[in-house]
Subunit: 356 residues, 4 copies
């Protein structure tokens, strides 16, 4: 089962890249929330392709339609379903090679799992396109959180081996975080952005691809959110982050680096400032015992390079059961990290709203 997540709020996604429509139903939203449709569209545009020379040429019209749960500009509190009609589908692109299992893709695993009955066109239900409805749901969640003063923002931490600063190295505040969402290629250090974009263009010319890491921060979360063990903030957020296609690693706070520290370095020591409890450092990423501490919640998700590359690769023909090769043509991003930024924020918002 792939499509339903949540306990307090349940999200059900559906759709194949070349099917009639993709969409999501959100059940459990509070009633009376005024939705800023233009803001949702803005989030969609952050994700949309065809925008610039770093992204795919495919024009995905991401116009969505809300079918239910929304009346007179506000949520009704009943299930809200939003769909996006698929268009600009070059289904023939996939017909010729449907028996060739593209390396790094879910062609093979999906073929086995669904006994060959899956819609293979454009990656079917595995397509990164299915993250579009997730961005809609996340945009709605973000608006609800924002009304409660909770701000979510992120930047591109790295593209291949080019590294930006960590959020933990700067002074985080609402304004800074929110501004990031208005930057096309968001980084803390502007020079790094240029180096990263160079990497991406080089990859394109080389008929190859690159990956990267997105770092996300959540400010002003109340203390006490989350639960020990199965309901930990890390468990909830990671289950959503690893739902995003291409994610292969998730870490909180200092993450894997914390395992290299001594306890005396790693521990975030407490102090009081104006009746508020804070820590001098934030290696735990704002989470202790699975529960928010009031410090910024910070995490990173690692994205593998786009599997669709033009370079010739070895593969197998699943019908003829023999070795062969494949060159993937069509319109593909040499890097999807930039497009993944709003998706990371979207699932973060979904996860936080669930736990609040």
């Amino acid at each position: 089962m792939s499509g339903v997540w949540g306990n307090k709020i349940k999200y059900s996604i559906f759709g194949e890249s070349h099917g009639n429509a993709i969409g999501i139903t959100i059940d459990g939203l509070p009633s009376g929330v005024e939705l800023d449709i233009e803001e949702i569209n803005r989030e969609m545009r952050r994700r949309a392709p065809g925008k610039n020379k770093f992204s795919t040429a495919r024009q995905e019209k991401d116009e969505f339609e809300i079918l239910s749960g929304y009346f007179n500009g506000k949520t009704t509190g009943t299930p809200l379903c939003a769909i996006i009609r698929n268009s600009d589908q070059h289904s023939k692109d996939y017909e010729k090679t449907k028996n060739l299992m593209r390396p790094g893709h879910a062609d093979y695993t999906g073929f086995v799992k669904y006994s060959g009955f899956n819609d293979y066109r454009g990656g079917g239900h595995f397509s990164g396109r299915i993250t579009a409805p997730i961005v809609i749901a996340g945009a709605i969640a973000k608006q609800i959180l924002k009304k409660k003063g909770i701000i979510i923002g992120s930047h591109i931490k790295s593209i291949r081996t080019i590294e930006d600063n960590f959020f933990d190295e700067i002074e985080l505040n609402n304004e800074f975080l929110e501004n990031l969402s208005h930057i096309e290629f968001p980084t803390i250090n502007k020079d790094k952005a240029l180096e990263m974009q160079e990497e991406i263009l080089l990859a394109r010319e080389d008929r190859d691809s690159v990956g990267g890491v997105v770092e996300c921060a959540i400010l002003n979360l109340p203390t006490g959110i989350g639960s020990p063990f199965f309901g930990s903030v890390e468990s909830i957020l990671s289950s959503l982050l690893f739902s995003i296609p291409a994610v292969k690693g998730v870490e909180f706070g200092a993450g894997f680096s914390i395992s290299k520290m001594k306890g005396s370095e790693a521990n975030d020591q407490f102090y009081i400032e104006e009746d508020r409890i804070k820590t001098f450092t934030n290696n735990n990423g704002g989470i202790l015992g699975g529960i928010t501490s009031g410090m910024p919640v910070i995490f990173r998700a690692a994205f593998k390079p786009t599997p669709s590359i033009v370079k010739e690769q070895k593969t197998v023909d699943i019908q003829e059961k023999k070795d062969t090769t494949i060159e993937i043509h069509g319109r593909h991003d040499p890097c999807i990290v930039q497009r993944a930024v709003p998706v990371v924020e979207a699932v973060a918002a979904m996860g936080i709203l669930e736990m609040l």
Copy 2:
């Protein structure tokens, strides 16, 4: 909510470190499975303290009792509950400092979440002790998986900055993996084990602590397990891994390193061998599109250093609302990574059984 996980099989944990008992109920096990009680005990001993000079002095009697779901040596198929009575509790150790929020611990966050009503003794419900019932459940899951030919094994990948080899660098087979569980300090490279143990002793002498990384592999999983998006193998396993106290990072296959590769390097190209489809490399850790590919599933979990250190630390007094300091005495491990190895395998088994 902290205690219930699963869909097909539901696990409910409960217990505080100094309460009457800790335990777990497993609902959904198949009937007629013959349980090897001695094997479960062996797994418990891998986790148990007081075993050697690298671990805590506290003697935890981990004798468990099965209250239900088990009859005439076999599972009945009805809910199976196993409990462990708490003993050797030095509750006074915690009484004096209950208002001092130990850095890196859940004292503060638990206090806020439970409005001060949580059992703070020995970490209460946040204590690493609560991983003991998880090892019981995992041991049962491992036995069921083993009957299906699925083998789970792990080693200590690193302690602080001392690094062992990766599983991906060697030839993995059932025998090798199973043997690891019989090694007290399991590594691929024996020399590294000695270096790591040195690190731990140094930390103890220094009244400090160290962390590390556990790497786990699962062999012989059928292809096609897991689902895209919310039901991905990474989502399921990570939600369990991040449930283990002290875990701050989880990665699959090449993990964060994959984000530094080019697509041509990262993609695992396919080939056929004796009618079986394999890949030349395994950077995706045996998972494509959230679904198992038949290659070994490999992942790593990063553990932060034990927060309980004797060194003086800055903290706050939660009652008096003022800055102060704390020195944590009592009996604590300078490193819990060794004890975490069977816990990592336990949750891996629980997760796999859920998805099969």
Copy 3:
């Protein structure tokens, strides 16, 4: 939360009577199932209004569109979403009286629950129209069950005080049950059908309404389906049956009558026939200890009379907070029992598929 049900298979419904569309997403269907679209349409027509003089004059176009999870005539195994566009909406019918709480309806309770933000037109999300997507999901479930030899069928047991025979009084077989679905007003005793239809016409002339009971049977269920306690067949089916608007009672086997019997009468004694275990009687409705016994599963659902009647009724004006009266005009069924028959079968199919 109103819209998500299920564990193994998850159903998410959405939609308001006068919103853009109503629909349902089904997650967890097996792949490769060939769907008979015409059969689904037939089930929809059994439910549809405007068919005859016993039903509403409103023309509901129930043309549905499958958005996902269906490719080349078969299920893909990924989430399947089906929607129905709303049409023939006379929204003005409801505008004038939106502050008058119609007795027996959810106007008042929905107003309170959703703080006045619900879409009140045509009953909004409470409308019986929302059972249309449920019939689609049930129709799909029925087709899957039929391939396994499991047959579901039902009849109108009573309209007001006119009683048809019980299923338990006749010889049930596949053919008889399946034929019932082709009868417009299905009863065992044809004469009773005529009496019942008379009652309905009388109610219409009298500007009033009547209710009734639907009895449903499921044949050829394997023995051993369901679980004790929370997973009992009765619990699963009743939770779905009581989801249908207007249901106020559910009983299995002899139902409430069994409470009037002695144990010696009520107990279904066992016997063996050609190596199959059966019972002489079936007062337990094919379920023992929450688990199917192999005998037909039989249950009944009681429907209250349609709340929308033209007769003047006392009510309150929710804005002005004062007593007043209301006469409900518009196009309403004097009896919805006939239309509810396929809905009862639909949820029965959904519940059985979940437990198989």
Copy 4:
């Protein structure tokens, strides 16, 4: 899966009648609730056998022990597990007849479902004894609800054909409802109680058994609790009520009788009294569109007569696959309705707490 119920609060039951212990874990309770242990014991005594001549001779010691989630007299907010050790077990009573499938019991269905591996002694996991932990959980839920002013009470509506009044026929108030729980054989009409008790004694003398109906009322529920469709109050409560062994029918308000009324009779017309909205009648049992209306929630559960009767019955030997007969000796209640009263209240409390 039989043992886990709930979304906001999760209940996990476990235990076999003759196993080591039976119990329940409750996850999601608020912290800081002071529990009245004596009150829980009182509820247990209402259920306990050996009390009087109408009940079983078996002495069930229902002393429970709270293993976790309870500290210094209050709930901690972490999972609370309570167990009851089994004692006074005459396991030999069941050994001789374990291959004879007792009519009306789950011997046969349990045998098939669990492939013969279930613990058959004393009914194993199907035993009515497993309702004891449910009463503990319900008692806790009732205390929490009571602090919010919500009162739950019930009476024996009928034993066989002897009928007591309906709750709807009298003036319900908190005091009256609460007093019912202090009456050993609670009815509205005292004379009926005597007649009912006569029926039970006659059944015992006749080596037979009788069933009956329990009617329950919930007062002071806020308006707006529950959801349309899958989350309806009827769905939630019925799924719990049908979990109780022996329940074969559940109805709300006028229940099955409402199907015999006309709309003008059935509809509960509204009026305002001191700014509160009420209805003249309450045929809908306080629930409209699956949501509470503020009127008392009233429902009834029908219990079949105790299957264990001494009278000889026809049955089959499951090993030898042949027809035979059985006489059930041992210590059994001729009627369990009286003991079921606190169980009905318990699950009602669990369900309401879930929806609040």
